[in-house]
Amino acid sequence: MNEMIKMVVVLTVLAALSGGLLAAVRSGTSEQIESQQLQFVKGPAIKEILSGASNDPISDRFNLMVGESEATFFVGKFNDKAHTVAFEGTGRGGYGGDIGVMVGVNVETDNIIGVAVTTHSETPGLGAKAKTDPKFTAQFEGLPVTKPSNSPKAAGRSTPFPAPPSPPGRWSAALRAPWSDIRKLKPQIMEEIKAFR
């Protein structure tokens, strides 16, 4: 009996200490991690999507709640008009887990101006090529975000995805979540974007 109690106590104390240590490290590094992600993950994707913007999209940004989490929207000014936003959405349906996608949308025309994969857990050299192969992201440019069923295939485009085993349909399905978020949040985005005009 004593041994049983000792086992329970030791495991409980060790698990509690471990949890406490991880919580402390996590809260101590969260700001630095966010800044690193902005610099190394979101930054290049934002600059790629909003290339040619006359402002600095990384500093011109606002936050909105997407479901239960907060998302940052980066504003791009073209011809002195702030009508483009880029934001990172999370697509569900990747083979290795969630897929982080930066989506740029012209909120006046409701068209996608660019897509870039930021984070994923797909197989290196196979599904992961979606991040590096420009053919993959190019197929979404110009598609409307207002139609729930939008996809390159529905728009009559070929889907030149680089490699099996992640078929284009699976990636398109994963990317549809950010489209849906943009549609739902459009009134709030239009309201927030006024501050940058």
Binding site: K6, M7, V10, L14, S18, L22, T29, I33, Q37, V41
Partner: protein
């Protein structure tokens, strides 16, 4: 025959080198060490986890009951692995993005 201190500390250099002689952790080693920076980074991360986990396990070995020994070791080692993951994300993001898929699956 009892091993000398020098033998004990030098055996990992070749005689019991984990990836190539014991074939342990071969996949992450081959996957991550594609550049010198990644190799050094992985070596430092592995050393940190091994040293910290060994010190803590040595300190706790008389307290941990025999039957939950493995479970306790898993908690200790996994905690240090996650600490390294968070620190790499915070202070060495390029290294983290190159190696996380192999080191922190």
């Amino acid at each position: 025959m009892a091993k000398t201190l020098v033998q004990e500390f030098s055996k990992g250099l070749w005689k019991e080198l984990p990836p190539f002689r014991l074939v342990l952790g071969l996949c992450p080693v081959l996957g991550v060490t594609t550049t010198m920076e990644n190799g050094i980074g992985m070596g430092l991360a592995t050393t940190f986890v091994l040293v910290c986990a060994n010190i803590l396990v040595s300190l706790l070995r008389n307290v941990i009951p025999q039957k939950v020994r493995i479970a306790c070791f898993i908690i200790v080692i996994a905690s240090f692995v996650i600490v390294v993951e968070l620190l790499m994300q915070a202070y060495a993001y390029p290294l983290f993005s190159e190696s996380w898929v192999f080191l922190f699956p």
